[in-house]
Symmetry: C3
Subunit: 146 residues, 3 copies
């Protein structure tokens, strides 16, 4: 959905995922680039937020070793195990809620001269901790068209 205000533009979109495995990291930078172009915003902000509470957003390096390091480290700090209180409800994913908390569930990206103003190595990842079902990310872009 795109909306124009005098001097401003706003775009809202949702990116859907249904991962094959329980945990997965998906680089969404290209999709965000395309949404920024579609928005027409030249100077503004782009919010990217995982709407399901067992997934997060990570802004870091597209390097396969580091990505595995991250997932192993999260497993160590917030391990999957049976004895969480949350599991008394029938759920089995308390660790996924904690992992989302550790990496944080959202990022705000600056848009400068019509493009995402990222550092040289910054890439944006959707990080799934309890997948194999349909889940989504909200992308909200707001800023100046000029």
């Amino acid at each position: 959905m795109k909306k124009d205000i005098p001097g401003l533009s706003c775009l809202t979109d949702y990116i859907w995922f249904e991962t094959q495995s329980r945990t997965e990291m998906i680089n969404i930078t290209d999709r965000l680039d395309a949404l920024v172009v579609k928005s027409g915003v030249q100077e503004g902000f782009c919010l990217v937020s995982a709407m399901h509470i067992t997934a997060g957003i990570w802004v870091n390096d597209e390097e396969s070793g580091l990505k595995k390091d991250l997932m192993e480290w999260l497993e160590k700090l917030a391990p999957a195990k049976p004895d969480y209180r949350h599991h008394l409800t029938g759920e089995d994913n308390a660790d996924a809620h904690l992992k989302r908390t550790l990496i944080h569930h959202q990022t705000m990206l600056p848009i400068t001269q019509g493009k995402l103003d990222l550092g040289p190595w910054e890439q944006v990842f959707y990080v799934e901790f309890d997948g194999q079902r349909r889940k989504r990310v909200v992308v909200k872009i707001l800023g100046s068209k000029n």
Copy 2:
């Protein structure tokens, strides 16, 4: 405080807390919903940020078991204990500063069609790690009225 700009609206408010116990989790989603309505913003952003450095904001599930899991897990990763350097100043709450860091102190919520655009289970919590005194959260809403 509400301010109108051509096409835009801005609202700033503060939510005060004085918890009974040292640690507490308070669901503030309803209060934020009410502020969004008051702002008149249809498309925009709502920043929610804990202004005191021993409290944070958590966007996750309203489930009592998980909330206890979170607090136990934070205690394990950032335990209350005497031997922090910060305590040489007379303070006793270094763990609370670290817990705020772990869950992060703020969130940015999208507003779409006049409502907080949250996922199906997303709820917003003020998480107090060193309470029993007056502390506040700033809420800043900016966006289009149309």
Copy 3:
């Protein structure tokens, strides 16, 4: 770079760092205050984001003991050690990527009545985990001039 839109103003700037040691904490609150004044924004948002993926932003207390506590605690949770997969690429800084993840790489600061609307003890720090090279932070301010 400053841009004016009817009723609105946008400023983008970059703060460069080249630290003497591998890890360092630099209080940038005064520099951000100056950029807010320069922007002329009265009501709005100020995004502060570390553009290099081994540095982060921390909003907390200017207290030397606590700052050391933070760095020791991060070292415990995400230790520097040789056996990360990332190091097979020739890098030696996987821990710095994880530490950035723990403290988060950015913050969004509210601007109210022309000033950063921070809590009584909130200070903004650039936290370097792999320094001794030129790196930068993007600052993006957007809001109403009135």
